[in-house]
């Protein structure tokens, strides 16, 4: 496989963030492979913890992730209807490893969510496994590691981080 420049990965992650901020969630879902996972572990867990024996905030396989997207696009998803406004900032992007046809990528994030006069902040790092192809990437794993000690301030993770 050809060497991949960090800027290519950054372009992809910035585009991902834009889809989330514009609430184009069905398009965002298409970034994922059919066997993809999207995880938000609880804040007291190890980086590589498994949802099979640890309680996560979110542990979606591709099916549950597609259902999450369906839910968030409904009027009956009360927490997000009307939609909140969000801004996903992505920084400190690094290619950690290239194994076979997969890339391990990490980034730092700050995501703001605002609604009804209240702004919440989520921050931490994302660990991705990306599969390059056709001049872009697909996401095989997105693991969102929150740095906060818990979620008392925000009370929920109703958006996609």
């Amino acid at each position: 496989m050809q060497a991949i420049a960090r800027t290519e990965v950054e372009d992809f992650l910035f585009a991902e963030a834009e889809l989330l901020d514009e609430w184009r969630l069905p398009e965002w879902l298409e970034l994922f492979t059919d066997d993809a996972i999207y995880y938000v572990p609880a804040t007291d867990l190890a980086v590589d913890a498994s949802p099979d024996n640890n309680l996560f905030y979110v542990a979606d396989d591709r099916f549950r992730l597609s259902e999450r997207v369906k839910r968030l696009m409904k009027r009956t998803a009360h927490a997000e209807f009307p939609h909140s406004r969000t801004r996903h900032l992505v920084s400190n992007v690094r290619i950690r490893k290239q194994i076979g046809d997969e890339l391990e990528v990490s980034s730092a994030f700050i995501t703001y969510r605002t609604k009804d006069g209240v702004t919440d902040t989520y921050f931490g790092s994302n660990r991705y496994r990306l599969v390059p192809g056709n001049g872009t990437f697909r996401i095989k794993e997105k693991r969102c590691l929150l740095d906060s000690e818990g979620l008392r301030a925000q009370g929920r993770v109703s958006i996609i981080l």
Partner: protein, 226 residues
């Protein structure tokens, strides 16, 4: 959560809001093949005295102890039969059926909830301000648990419960919106919780349990019976 702590008492033991507040959770169960048992919502509420109360009811979701749903497959069926047989041996059929197939939302006055629903959660909550509470919640697990049971219990928990589930964020939204509404208390100094009042056997989706809580709270705070 940006709401008065007493609202979480109401929410944790309210049987009436599931179909509307959690419409998307039920949609999810409907679209996941075999995620619903052929069981209707049905049950009762009990005032346990001194502000404590419990709902006990049947519901169509899977329960790790021990209501099987088709999406848990043959392995799940074997595991749940094993658990059920254990209950049968220890408690006899009547109590085993009650443990396995009934959900319980149990409230211990003033701020402890033990909800034995699609998973067992223990939660407690303290006011940090009149309009903000800190919540701690735990997932309760059996000491002896197979890998299968642990995995599916955890999945059942996070699909509904927890801050990233398909249901709890909507509870948070509802409570925060109620808190906003209560800012108008100068105009309306009451909240209607009369559902099922005067019924001999209040249903799980009536509001007997709310009245049990509020009456006792009122007695403690104002030193007069409500």
């Amino acid at each position: 959560m940006r709401a008065n702590w007493k609202l979480l008492t109401e929410n944790s033991i309210d049987g009436y809001h599931a179909l509307t507040t959690h419409a998307t959770y039920l949609d999810y169960l409907k679209s996941a093949t075999g995620a619903l048992a052929q069981v209707a919502f049905e049950g009762s509420a009990r005032d346990l005295g001194k502000g404590h109360a419990v709902l006990e009811y049947k519901a169509p979701w899977g329960r790790p102890v021990a209501q099987w749903i088709p999406s848990w497959g043959e392995e799940g069926k074997r595991e749940l039969s094993r658990l059920y047989d254990g209950l049968l041996t220890r408690f006899g059929k009547e109590r085993a059926d009650r443990i396995a197939t009934f959900n319980r939302n149990l409230f211990i006055f003033p701020n402890l909830v033990i909800n034995d629903i699609m998973a067992v959660t223990v939660r407690t909550y303290y006011p940090a301000a009149p309009d903000f509470m800190n919540i701690s919640a735990w997932a309760l697990a059996p000491r002896e648990e197979t890998e299968w049971a642990r995995k599916y219990r955890l999945f059942n928990f996070l699909e509904f419960l927890g801050p990233g589930g398909f249901a709890t964020p909507d509870d948070v939204e509802a409570l925060e919106q109620c808190q906003r509404g209560f800012r108008n208390s100068a105009e309306a100094q009451w909240n209607d919780i009369s559902k099922g009042m005067g019924k001999e056997n209040p249903s799980y989706d009536d509001e007997l349990q709310m009245r049990a809580f509020w009456s006792n709270w009122n007695e403690h705070v104002f030193r007069v019976p409500a």
